[in-house]
């Protein structure tokens, strides 16, 4: 397949995005690296721990390569103009995450407490399910604008997903945060899926209401104050996120949804006042809840003085729940230093619970060092950048809003999780997209990448050539902005 299909040479009268190269071969070349790097890392872990190349290297490499190949071929067929970076970047992170999970599987300590052991195989299955969902999105969602029709259904679905963990008998309380549901031996984090569905609802809703929200306002002290009735939606979303915080004691998800909404509201209305309102409301909400919700309070205390929590967790007879995890994570980062200990040579198993999920970044920090973490953060940054670029390039407001909503939420999630693990902000129970162990997270994030790729394909697709009209003068085509 050539990258110069739909050459515009036969219509010299039109200008614009027509003829943008599809860049599929670029994507393929990058994918080769995105698969090769984790394979080398995998070999490295085996050599460091057992002194030999791991037996599963071939099957692992083939598995990851096959998944990447399927994803690539589907993109080539169903979204030929898609952004060429998103798929390789996500594949690289997913692959490195698999290696790290396998590395932690080798820890006897983590096996003993059932945190690790065979988790890499599970994660590979989740990855396959994620890629399957990614493929399904690209095949069945021919045009992202179709989603616009489901604006209010999305709202209902998102609320349903968010409330699921509160259903008695279904919700599972894991270390204080009630964001899981348990079906048999499976646990699912509905919040991860709600993120995407909620973005669809916000995009659809704001596209319709943006003019009312933007224009009908009074000016006060340099800010455009919205009318009372237009304040309704933001208040409702704020209230919902506060409720999540109170009932599911999950600061991260709450912050994520509210932040996503404020970003989309700002983009839709171009009114800075929404940002100001959003920040004030989230600050008030977070401080208000943190002051009386014990679970959140503990997290804040652990953030303020991790060493104290460590000491308390070691002192028998101290009331309350105290965890040394954050201090252990900080030690892991510090012990890694600039270049890290190398794969398999750190001791991040000391973090124990959630070492391969919420805290997986600490293992990267210890074994790949400052250099590795900076590279990983930049990869996340690049994914967000490609998402924002997609939003900029999208021609329709719905696509713009959806793309910025998803990439904004992605950026916030990366910030909230890694900021929490690095002790920059209080810890929240969320996972690093693609790196961390967990089915919901991997599957939902592949769907997210699928939607972004769909929007970017539509955005970069050459405009259909106007039908040849011999009577017409030269048509002026305005470059979409």
């Amino acid at each position: 397949m050539s990258s110069t299909t739909n050459s515009p040479t036969h219509h010299t009268s039109t200008i614009g995005a027509i003829g943008a190269p599809s860049r599929r071969n670029t994507e393929l070349a990058l994918l080769v690296f995105a698969v090769a790097i984790p394979v080398f890392a995998y070999a490295n872990v085996g050599l460091a721990i057992d002194g030999q190349v791991p037996a599963g290297l071939l099957s692992y490499g083939l598995g990851l390569g096959l998944l990447a190949a399927v994803a690539h071929l589907v993109v080539r067929k169903f979204a030929p103009y898609a952004d060429p970076l998103l798929l390789p970047l996500a594949t690289l992170l997913n692959g490195l995450g698999l290696v790290c999970i396998w590395r932690l599987d080798q820890s006897k300590l983590l096996q003993q407490i059932h945190v690790a052991g065979g988790k890499a195989t599970n994660q590979l299955i989740y990855t396959a399910m994620g890629i399957a969902l990614f493929v399904a999105v690209l095949i069945f969602l021919k045009d992202h604008r179709t989603l616009q029709r489901y604006t209010y259904i999305s709202m209902v679905a998102a609320l349903f997903l968010l409330l699921l963990p509160l259903v008695p008998g279904l919700g599972a309380d894991v270390y204080g945060a009630k964001i899981w549901i348990a079906i048999g031996s499976f646990t699912i984090q509905p919040g991860e899926f709600a993120k995407i569905v909620l973005a669809v609802f916000f995009a659809g809703y704001l596209m319709v209401k943006r003019d009312a929200l933007a224009l009908a306002s009074r000016r006060f002290m340099g800010l455009y104050l919205p009318r009372g009735r237009d304040l309704g939606p933001i208040l409702v979303v704020w209230a919902i996120s506060i409720l999540i915080l109170v009932f599911e004691t999950d600061l991260g998800t709450s912050l994520l949804f509210f932040g996503m909404f404020v970003i989309m509201l700002y983009v839709a209305t171009e009114r800075t006042s929404w940002i100001v309102f959003g920040l004030l409301m989230s600050a008030a909400g977070a401080i208000g809840v943190a002051s009386f919700e014990p679970h959140i309070k503990v997290r804040v205390q652990a953030w303020l003085d991790p060493m104290r929590e460590y000491t308390l967790s070691r002192t028998p007879g101290v009331p309350g729940v105290h965890s040394d995890q954050l201090q252990q994570a900080l030690w892991a980062f510090g012990s890694g230093g600039t270049l890290g200990t190398g794969w398999g040579q750190g001791h991040s198993e000391l973090i124990r619970f959630a070492a391969n999920s919420d805290f997986i970044l600490a293992t990267f920090g210890e074994e790949l060092g400052l250099a590795g973490i900076m590279a990983i953060l930049l990869i996340y940054g690049l994914i967000v950048e490609r998402g924002v670029r997609t939003a900029l390039a999208a021609r329709d407001p719905f696509g713009k809003l959806l793309a910025i909503g998803l990439s904004g939420a992605f950026a916030l999630q990366v910030f909230v999780v890694s900021g929490g693990v690095m002790g920059l902000i209080p810890l929240t129970g969320m996972t690093m997209p693609f790196l961390a162990y967990g089915g919901s997270s991997v599957i939902a994030n592949w769907a997210l990448i699928g939607v972004l790729i769909r929007i970017s394909d539509t955005a970069r697709r050459p405009a259909p050539a106007p039908a040849a009209n011999p009577d017409a003068e030269m048509t002026q085509v305005v470059r979409p902005s």
Binding site: Y266, S335, G337, S407
Partner: protein
């Protein structure tokens, strides 16, 4: 819509930048602090990742070792410390336990023993380049294996609680440092349940004998009559009496100034206006109590301080400070001058007193680390003997030696006599407990002098014997034979 989009892009960029800055702070600025935090388990993991260097006694025999930890269980520590004759050497080595940390030499010289010390930097770098496992250096002590064995066996035979310290008077080298009952640091060197149980059993809470207390350095006892040596030194140094055979101004009975209480002697002994030689020979409380009261608190304190009282010693293992109070009236000073009231001394302190007398009045700083070696036995650092103070002039020291030799010749310390060797000593029986209800402590301090005039050893022995009959306890009976054996061991090993 694109303007806000660009702003959001900048906002997301700032989020990533904030994370990058935080990570640089964490993994660059604070990295070393986090990495070397003693609570960071990785420090312990590194400590036991390679075989530790050994602690070696004078003469070259190691008293420690390292063994591979059994692979079963979740142990993340590769090597475990072992000890040869653990209970005998525990007051010297301390312990290095995977579960319970390290103390004494094991802790103080940890850098050398693990090989992390900067002084081993060259070696470490060489090992790293040649791909060899990092090796720890050795700590060579001043201890004399024969003397240590004599000391420990003597205490063990006795069975009660006690301690022995032997010093080389001319250098301050610690030759023996024994404490009983003791513990085997091997028994809890690992981190299994067995180790935890062994550890628990040794704690004072579960074991009233407190075997982990290093009595030689960390326990202070009332020194009783052995303190009279210090009082006699103060009398000579302050010119109160100028010879051993000068009659002292000592009425009998003697009522302590400011009180109506008479100071009693043990039994009917010739103490009235006795010379200092006779007073030391019979251990007259009245004579030395009055000397103390006459000299006064300040002069007594000054002399005691010269002998090392009121200061912690770092050998480099820290010893407790011995006590002579500074705000006493005359009667309290009198009692303190015969080693009662508030006066308390570590066995190390009393050995220092004997060694200063034996070394013609010069007190050497006691030390137990002779040198530090790299793994290929190159010396890294050597300790040089150091003078601590001069509590006595050489002339007065010889007078005092003469008096102490009389104690062993025909006084209370005859059981420390060694054929062909001049021995000087002093017994002590210190009362303790409310109204002296508990068994007294038996003390003996002594030194040996060879025919060439050199003094190779000074010893202090203390026994808290709960099983013995109260009347039987006297330094001469219980403690002197142990001191004799230790001195003989040192003299024999010199031959």
């Amino acid at each position: 819509m694109n303007k806000p989009l660009r702003r959001i892009a900048i906002f997301c960029g700032l989020l990533v930048l904030t994370l990058l800055l935080r990570d640089n702070y964490l993994q660059y600025v604070r990295a070393d602090k986090l990495k070397d935090d003693p609570n960071n388990r990785r420090v312990t993991i590194a400590r036991y990742a390679t075989p530790r260097g050994d602690i070696i006694v004078s003469g070259g025999d190691p008293i420690t070792g390292s063994t591979l930890t059994s692979k079963t269980g979740l142990n993340d520590l590769k090597y475990k410390r072992t000890y040869k004759n653990g209970p005998m050497w525990a007051p010297v080595t301390g312990y290095a336990s995977q579960a319970f940390g390290a103390t004494q030499l094991e802790s103080i010289e940890d850098g050398i023993l693990t090989g992390d010390d900067d002084r081993l930097f060259f070696r470490k770098t060489l090992d790293m380049i040649t791909g060899k496992e990092q090796q720890g250096g050795n700590v060579v002590t001043t201890l004399n294996a024969a003397a240590q064995k004599a000391a420990y066996d003597g205490l063990k035979q006795r069975g009660g609680k006690g301690a022995v310290v032997a010093l080389d008077p001319s250098t301050g080298k610690i030759l023996a440092l024994a404490s009983y009952p003791s513990y085997d640091p091997s028994s809890f060197a690992g981190n299994t349940n067995d180790d935890a149980a062994a550890w628990k059993k040794l704690q004072k809470k579960y074991n009233p004998n407190d075997p982990m207390l290093n009595r030689a350095l960390r326990e202070t006892y009332p020194p009783g009559s052995t303190f009279k040596v210090v009082t006699a030194a103060a009398a000579l140094e302050n010119g109160k009496y100028t010879s051993a055979d000068e009659k002292t101004d000592s009425p009998l009975p003697w009522t302590m100034p400011g009180t109506t209480t008479q100071l009693k002697n043990e039994g009917n002994i010739p103490c009235e206006n006795a010379t200092m030689r006779v007073a030391l020979q019979y251990s007259c409380n009245t004579v030395f109590g009055k000397i103390g009261a006459d000299l006064g608190n300040d002069k007594m304190l000054a002399e005691a301080k010269k002998f090392g009282f009121d200061a912690e010693q770092f050998t480099p293992v820290r010893s407790s400070a011995s006590v002579f109070s500074d705000d006493m009236n005359q009667s309290q000073t009198a009692l303190s001058s015969i080693g009662q009231y508030n006066t308390a001394a570590t066995p190390l302190q009393m050995a220092m007193v004997a060694s200063a007398v034996a070394n013609d009045g010069k007190l050497m700083k006691p030390y137990m680390v002779d040198s530090l070696q790299s793994s290929n036995l190159d010396p890294v650092a050597t300790t040089k003997p150091e003078e601590l103070s001069r509590p006595l002039s050489p002339k007065n020291a010889q007078i005092l030696q003469d008096m102490m030799q009389t104690v062993v010749e025909k006084g209370t310390g005859t059981r420390a006599k060694i054929d062909g060797v001049t021995v000087g000593g002093k017994t002590g029986t210190a009362q303790h407990g409310v109204e002296n209800s508990e068994n007294p402590y038996a003390w003996f301090i002594s030194y040996a002098k060879l025919s060439d005039g050199s003094s190779p050893v000074a010893v202090a022995v203390v026994i808290e014997d709960e099983s013995a009959n109260r009347d039987d306890i006297s330094g001469g009976g219980l403690a002197a034979p142990i001191a004799k054996n230790v001195m003989e061991a040192v003299i024999d090993s010199k031959k």
